[in-house]
Symmetry: C2
Amino acid sequence: MSVKTGKRTIRLTNKIGIISTAGVAGHKESDGPLADYFDSTYNDDMLGQSSWEKAESRLQTDAARLALNKVNLSTDDIDVILAGDLLNQCISSTFGLRSLGIPYLGQYGACSTMAQTMLIASLLTDSGACRRAMAVTSSHFCSAERQFRLPIEYGGQRTPTAQWTVTGAGAAVIDNSGSGSLIKEVTIGKITDYKIKDANNMGAAMAPAAADTIMSFLDDSKTTPSDYDLVLTGDLGFIGSELLIKILHREGIDISSVHNDCGKMIFDRDRQDVHAGGSGCGCCGSVFCSYIAGKLKKHELNNILFIATGALMSPTSSQQGESIPGIAHLLHIVSGIS
Amino acid sequence: MSVKTGKRTIRLTNKIGIISTAGVAGHKESDGPLADYFDSTYNDDMLGQSSWEKAESRLQTDAARLALNKVNLSTDDIDVILAGDLLNQCISSTFGLRSLGIPYLGQYGACSTMAQTMLIASLLTDSGACRRAMAVTSSHFCSAERQFRLPIEYGGQRTPTAQWTVTGAGAAVIDNSGSGSLIKEVTIGKITDYKIKDANNMGAAMAPAAADTIMSFLDDSKTTPSDYDLVLTGDLGFIGSELLIKILHREGIDISSVHNDCGKMIFDRDRQDVHAGGSGCGCCGSVFCSYIAGKLKKHELNNILFIATGALMSPTSSQQGESIPGIAHLLHIVSGIS
């Protein structure tokens, strides 16, 4: 059973835990600062497949299977899988998870998908609708570039505000056994539109959504940023993160000392030429499900807010003059009993 | 609180009701057999907008607002909206529902979206995660044709197995007040792949998924098709429906006397030149949320299974030689207290 707390936050009343996670990442990501934390990395971003889209599907298959294997679970032990990605009609998820044979609810939250899938998985587990649920997402630099921007072969110049889509995936297994890091509360995001139209500055488009969700949660929970070890967003990158801090500062909220962003963490900005940082569902998917989940497990982090942000646009909507609405979903997670 | 019944079915323990619905439809649909049942129809399928995609967004806005108005609710009365559509990155939902300012969870279930959104909305309401939820979906013939098939202006020949994407939308408001038609049980679909590759025969691609979900539900609930007034699928059309009946017949299950399909109901096959019938999220969205919801309300239907089916493909996956996996989500709905 879940209980509404304040205006928008939902408190879970059972001990809903993230009992296993796996984060996998591509070649460039495995050359970055989090290289040692990923559960699997690939030298060849084709993953032995015949297309980038099929390679991205494979990232999801691998992340899902690794997360299950870590806790000796089979696909029959999972009642429902929630997954989504950036590709048209979410084909990475469909084809990546098809072989598992698990009841499936496809999600579309753009880069907010890791939080959205974990959020719904935690609520369905808390209610008894399922014993155990799984949340999965992915992105792939090459499949995203050609779909959203330009053919890779064109070698287009990237603007300084552009983020680098991460080749990676994350998978999390959630149940009500009381094990693992516990999901205490969640806040569902609203579609937030500050009329940003620059598709090469997603961070700016998504920062207002993150600010809105964080303010709602702090208000509902009557807490302040200093109550948390980490306020982790994904994936605002360098520009969006700065903007988020500024927006919240204007509202009298200072997250600067506890904030970090998956898009800032996954690459070495000085060395890896990624401009405004990492992005894509697989960015916070892989970072949360490897590095962050590990820190929670080892009690190096004990009380965090995880807010994944998404830009709800398509090339068609941008070509038709539409702005880029953002969304951000939040989970309040505490480390489990050691 | 929800309870798992059998292998895959979830029983809702509170009185979760569909308290309001609205179905809107385009010009061709308003010339069909269900014309009198739609809450709103449009003479111009552009709906006064500058693009088909924007027109499709408008269908969702209208359906959502109509469903709220019928029961004198404002957007503040809704805790979460679940919506999705067929367009890349689900832009009809984002831009159609942006103005409502309701916490939003984007869904991707292709043409199964009406059932998927209602299913999750009912579970979140049953658990207490929200007081009141909304489920919305849409499709538009012109935006779908140019994205999935050919430019409209090309005037391509349609194959006899092709279905006609419905211009329409459906919206349902779900809460735990005990009013309205009640959602008793739900079954989440599995990705089912019989290796169909013909993108002009979606009915055949989706029928095995419908069969799988129906068999699971009947098994879990220990009921037979004759226990129900109607086993309503959407949107298999004429060819997929025939195939579904055959697949189930082979398994010793006879649905022929209680089965109908939204894709068969929305157009007059003899007069409207739609080949294998209607399809698209907006087909069962508009049919369920107008005609069927009305029949439940008037007790002309009392005990039904609603199974919406989706084809989880994209033009890219088909171009890369992939088959078309299907999915089908089921709701068991009974008419409320009169």
